[in-house]
C-alpha cells in the first residue's frame, strides 16, 4: 500500500486516495478536431519512468493534487498542487 504525501494533510495510506490518471492534460475547447478530442480523452503516455499523475484525497481533505512517481519503482519524487507546474526531478529512478 503506497504512502502518499497529500500536500494538505501529510503522508497517508493509499486507501484514503482515489487515482486520477495522468496529470497536466488540459481539456480543450469544444471546437477542436476529432483527433485532438480523442487525444484528450484517451491517449496517454503510459510512462515507464517518472509520471506526473493526479490523486484525490477522497477520504481526507477531498482535494485533487499532482504527484511525480516513477512507475518502474513506485517511488514518489514530488507532490504539488493542481495548477502548479511540474517540478523538475530529472529521470531518477
Amino acid at each position: 500500500m503506497l504512502l502518499i504525501d497529500c500536500p494538505y494533510c501529510g503522508p497517508r495510506a493509499e486507501i484514503e486516495f482515489a487515482y486520477g490518471g495522468e496529470a497536466h492534460i488540459a481539456r480543450p475547447a469544444a471546437d477542436v478536431s476529432e483527433a485532438e478530442w480523442a487525444a484528450f480523452l484517451y491517449l496517454r503516455d503510459n510512462t515507464k519512468g517518472v509520471l506526473a499523475e493526479r490523486w484525490r484525497h477522497s477520504h481526507g481533505c477531498g482535494r485533487f493534487f499532482n504527484a511525480l512517481r516513477d512507475t518502474r519503482t513506485d517511488r514518489f519524487h514530488a507532490f504539488y498542487e493542481i495548477g502548479t507546474p511540474r517540478p523538475d526531478v530529472g529521470d531518477a529512478a
Binding site: 500500500m1 497517508r12 495510506a13 484514503e16 477520504h59 481526507g60 477531498g62
Partner: protein
C-alpha cells in the same frame, strides 16, 4: 457509555448542529471571527471559540459545531462573502470512543498513526474506518470523537465492537 473492551467505552453522541462551510480564505476567516477565533484553525486541527468549534477538514472547508447562539453569527458574518454553508446535522452520526485501548481499537480499522506524537489532542481528519468514510477527532489523549454518515453508523459501531472484543490479546500500544 458502554464498555466494549476492558477500560474502553463507546457511546453514541447526542444530536448536534453541524455546518459544512466551504469557501476561500475570506469566508473561512469571517466564520472563524464570528466563532470568536483569531483565525481558522490550521489543517487537521480543531479550535473552539465562544460561538462554537471549527474543525479544519480541508484547505477550503470547515466543519462548524456552533453553540446554540453561534449559528446566527456565522450566517451574518458570511453574508457578503462568497461561500457555501450547508447544514449536515442529520447527515452524520457521532460516537465517543474513550479509554486506554481506544487508539488500539481504531488502529484495527484505520491506517492512521494514533500515537500522541503523530496524532495529538486537538487533531482531526477524515479517514477510513475499514470500509466506511469517517472523521476522527482526538478530543483528549484517550478520547476520540468519531463521525460517520448516518447509514454507516451501525456498521462502524459493529466493527468497533468486533475489534474491541479481540483487542486485549497480545497487543500493546507502541
Amino acid at each position: 457509555m458502554v464498555e466494549i473492551a476492558e477500560g474502553c467505552a463507546l457511546a453514541g453522541l447526542p444530536p448536534m448542529v453541524r455546518l459544512v462551510l466551504q469557501g476561500r480564505a475570506a469566508a473561512l476567516d469571517a466564520a472563524a471571527t464570528s466563532l470568536g477565533l483569531a483565525a481558522p484553525p490550521p489543517m487537521l486541527r480543531a479550535a473552539s471559540g465562544t460561538g462554537g468549534t471549527a474543525l479544519r477538514l480541508g484547505p477550503f472547508e470547515l466543519l462548524i459545531l456552533p453553540t446554540p447562539d453561534g449559528r446566527a453569527g456565522v450566517d451574518t458574518a458570511l453574508a457578503t462573502v462568497p461561500h457555501s454553508l450547508v447544514e449536515v446535522s442529520d447527515r452524520n452520526v457521532g460516537f465517543m470512543l474513550e479509554g486506554a485501548r481506544a487508539a488500539d481499537i481504531l488502529a484495527g480499522l484505520c491506517p492512521l498513526d494514533f500515537a500522541l506524537s503523530s496524532f495529538p489532542v486537538g487533531m482531526m481528519t477524515r479517514t477510513l474506518l475499514d470500509k466506511a468514510g469517517a472523521m476522527i477527532w482526538r478530543t483528549d489523549a484517550q478520547s476520540f470523537h468519531i463521525e460517520v454518515w448516518r447509514s454507516f453508523g451501525p456498521y462502524v459501531e459493529a466493527q468497533l465492537r468486533e475489534v474491541a472484543q479481540g483487542i486485549s490479546f497480545s497487543l500493546l500500544a507502541v
